[in-house]
């Protein structure tokens, strides 16, 4: 039985490719592959296997109490559903002890879709309500190693992605964006080596499923993703009384392996274990068969999509749980379990009352698929339009400023 409270690497580690001892293929969830038998990811099993905890109603209420506002729609609707040590962070915050946020992106492609934006939208919410600083790691080196991109191309993609990230509305007064290739410097490199000295190749193989055929960089990269969890990697931001600041990492659940390893190492370097708040995978337009893929343009809504594209994609490719004919639909109603538009509305429609009404009517047959899709198109268009407007205002100078190694004197407001 996997432990749900304390975790050691040995107990909670899944075998990298998800196979059970009998060799039966179950679901596979790791930073490079997400797939499941039957298409549907069993998140309960995943939480058990990984050894993290579910984010329950009481924690959400605690959020609302501490921040004084309604919790973010992603929290309320269960998109961010698991965590590690989140209550410790909240306890400390209530005592007046601050923390910082750390999230990142692997810049493998120039075009981002809404699924990519999810962790950033949520991180922005966390930054706003807690008024804490944020570091964002662009792992251009990772994409160089795994995708075989050239160094220059990875760097270029990182910068392009940075613009979309900035467009999510982060506050430049308390945000530092960095790309591994350009930020590598004594403070962070020393931490990387310290971490490397704590984790054997065997462990890396065990967590990430690498073999001796893989290039050595892949063994080394996990240390690089771990390092920003320690504030001394950013002495220009966290010095003096902030040199042991706690860290909270919002990410998708497939990143959990990296941070399990980091949490194991942290006490040995006398740092707080980084806390995690993890999200499910955003369903692809065609249904629950894994996460959105950057290689299939019709599997997701891209931030560069025009209003026409959005309408087209939703109408033609969004998997519907509605019945085949209008008569059947009126009689039996829609299958809300598999209906993708309803799932999307679940995450993007803020109005609880309206969502409930749509679910009732659609489930009973009073509402047609076309109507639900139309509402979804409206909601998505607003989000994408807002993003595009913000993106258009991001200049090279702004990227430079976000990425400049500079102190953040007002990072706690």
């Amino acid at each position: 039985m996997a432990s749900t409270t304390g975790e050691t690497l040995a107990a909670a580690e899944p075998i990298a490719d998800g196979r059970t001892e009998e060799g039966e293929e179950e679901q596979v969830v790791n930073p490079w592959e997400v797939s499941a038998k039957g298409g549907k990811i069993d998140y309960d099993k995943l939480v058990d296997k990984f050894g993290c905890q579910r984010l329950d109603e009481s924690l959400i209420q605690r959020f609302e109490r501490i921040t004084g506002r309604r919790a973010h729609v992603f929290l309320r609707r269960g998109l961010f559903f698991a965590h590690r040590d989140l209550s410790d962070i909240l306890d400390a915050y209530e005592r007046g002890e601050k923390f910082y946020l750390y999230t990142g992106r692997g810049p493998s492609s120039e075009s981002l879709h809404l699924g990519h934006l999810v962790p950033f939208m949520f991180t922005k919410y966390l930054q706003d309500v807690f008024k804490v600083p944020l570091v964002i790691q662009l792992t251009d080196d990772e994409k160089c190693m795994w995708k075989g991109l050239s160094v220059e191309e990875s760097e270029r993609l990182a910068r392009e992605n940075a613009k979309d990230i900035i467009a999510c509305g982060f506050d430049i007064e308390r945000t530092f964006i960095f790309a591994d290739f350009s930020y590598m410097s004594p403070p962070i490199y020393k931490n990387i080596v310290r971490i490397a000295n704590c984790v054997t190749g065997n462990k890396i193989v065990g967590i990430f499923g690498l073999t001796l055929e893989d290039y050595g960089g892949k063994f080394f990269f996990p240390y690089i993703q771990a390092a920003p969890s320690f504030p001394s990697s950013f002495p220009h931001i966290f010095s003096g009384k902030y040199s042991k600041l706690r860290c909270l990492i919002p990410c998708a659940i497939d990143q959990d392996p990296y941070f399990r390893m980091t949490r194991d190492v942290a006490p040995r370097l006398s740092y707080h274990k980084p806390a995690l708040i993890e999200s499910k995978f955003f369903p692809a337009l065609q249904g629950e068969s894994g996460k959105m893929s950057a290689s299939d343009p019709n599997s997701a809504i891209y931030v560069t999509d025009s209003l026409k594209d959005i309408k087209n994609k939703v109408n033609r490719y969004a998997f519907s749980g509605g019945q085949d004919t209008i008569e059947k639909q009126r009689k039996f109603g829609a299958n809300l379990e598999v209906d993708v538009p309803v799932k999307y509305l679940n995450f993007f429609l803020d109005d609880d009352a309206e969502l409930l009404s749509i679910k009732e009517k659609y489930g009973s047959g009073a509402m047609l698929t076309g109507e639900v899709k139309a509402r979804l198109i409206e909601v998505l268009s607003e989000i994408v339009e807002r993003h595009q407007r913000a993106r258009a205002a991001v200049t090279e100078e702004m990227v430079d400023a976000f990425m400049a190694v500079r102190p953040l004197p007002r990072m706690f407001g």
């Binding site: 509305g169 982060f170 430049i172 007064e173 807002r386 407007r389 205002a393 702004m398 400023a401 007002r410």
Partner: protein
């Protein structure tokens, strides 16, 4: 890197295979240090050819960066000689006359009356809120402090003589040497200067140049030039005018009240909170009008307040004015209030609920966009300020004082 030095004229004198020292100015270093790189003589030609110019070889040091036109004031007291040097720099012509120390205008007249200029009497005053004023009037002008106090909006007995300690502390002059020139000192930044409009028609105006052992005479326009050079807009006032100040006639000189009070020596009173709103407004305005100054705001404000609890007010004011959510809230509130009142004019009071409901709906729909747009504005403005800061490091000598103060 900018190549600023070139090899000597007569190349034949050089060993063509040997190295040549090139002096370059590194744009990345904070100081305009000159670092030397050596090249082989033979490799210079292609390089110069690539610049595509007919370079006359001159060996010259790096060009000096241009000085800021407006000098930063020093934090220590100015002396008479420094003041006179500054006047000379400004190309202000003046006549200077030494004499024994004089404490009154009558005495002064004995020594400098022959210059044919207008003697000035200078009063150093304070109000109940510890704000400071210098009133500089022609010797003959009647100065009625009660009337001036009312015209400034300070009530009937608002103006008093400033405490003696303020003279050396704020103006850095001795007793009997009050002069508008004292405003050259950083410490006198917030002192308001009222000038007798009678000065404008005089050929020369006579003032003490920070000591009452000397008098200088200069033309009114040159005097204005000096004031502008220290960032002071000259305010000429008819000091003898006595308008009735009341409900329908607001105090006509209220615009001359200083933005902030100073911590006067020996004053046990705390700085009144009225200065905080002024600061907030100043910060808001400065934020929108002069984005380049934004990153420096916090430290400047911290320096202005020397008391213990004062930084509290300023830090919160800056935090408030850079908070995107609060800003959007205020905007929406303002618009809502106006909307409600306009709507009330049209329909009757029973529609109250509908109005509120509608308003809530409008706010909901417009909030996300407003927040996004405002954050974009904030980030853009910070970016401009940041780059201005970076570029100002190209002028390290000129900005040395700013850097030192940080």
């Amino acid at each position: 890197m900018v190549v600023t030095g070139f090899y000597p004229d007569n190349m034949s004198r050089l060993n063509p295979k040997g190295p040549i020292i090139f002096h370059t100015q590194s744009l990345e270093s904070r100081e305009s240090s000159l670092s030397a790189c050596s090249f082989h003589a033979a490799s210079i030609n292609p390089f110069l050819k690539s610049l595509n110019r007919n370079l006359k070889p001159i060996y010259s040091p790096a060009p000096r960066p241009p000085l800021l036109i407006r000098r930063r004031r020093r934090s220590m007291a100015f002396t008479k000689d420094q003041l006179l040097a500054r006047l000379q720099e400004l190309k202000v012509e003046f006549l200077s006359c030494d004499h024994p120390s004089v404490m009154t205008v009558e005495e002064q007249a004995k020594y400098v009356g022959h210059l044919g200029g207008a003697l000035s009497k200078n009063l150093f005053l304070k109000d109940k809120k510890h704000r400071l004023y210098i009133i500089s009037a022609l010797a003959n002008t009647k100065v009625d402090l009660k009337i001036l106090s009312q015209r400034l909006g300070l009530g009937k007995g608002g103006l008093r003589m400033a405490p003696e300690e303020a003279l050396p502390e704020i103006l850095h002059v001795a007793l009997g040497s009050v002069t508008p020139f004292a405003l050259i000192n950083e410490s006198a930044r917030s002192v308001s200067l009222l000038l007798d409009k009678g000065f404008k028609s005089q050929r020369y105006c006579l003032f003490h140049p920070l000591t009452n052992e000397v008098t200088i005479a200069l033309t009114p326009s040159d005097f204005d030039k000096f004031l502008l050079s220290i960032g002071h807009e000259p305010a000429y006032v008819d000091l003898e005018d006595c308008p009735v100040v009341g409900k329908d006639n607001p105090p006509d000189l209220a615009y001359l009240i200083p933005a902030e009070a100073l911590n006067l020596p020996g004053g046990a009173d705390k700085v009144p909170p009225t200065s905080a709103p002024a600061q907030t407004n100043a910060t808001l305005e400065q934020k929108t009008k002069q984005p380049t100054q934004k990153p420096k705001e916090p430290s400047k404000e911290q320096k202005q307040k020397s008391g213990n609890d004062k930084p509290q007010i300023n830090v919160d004011a800056v935090a408030d004015s850079t908070n995107v959510e609060k800003f959007v809230e205020k905007v929406l509130e303002k618009v809502s209030n106006v909307f409600i009142s306009e709507l009330s004019k049209q329909s009757n009071a029973e529609d109250g609920n509908i109005k509120d409901h509608m308003l809530e709906g409008v706010k909901q729909r417009v909030s996300s966009d407003l927040l996004s747009m405002t954050m974009t504005l904030k980030n853009s403005v910070y970016t401009q300020g940041f780059h201005a800061g970076i570029e100002s490091t190209l002028y390290p000598l000129a900005n040395k004082k700013i850097v030192e103060r940080k």
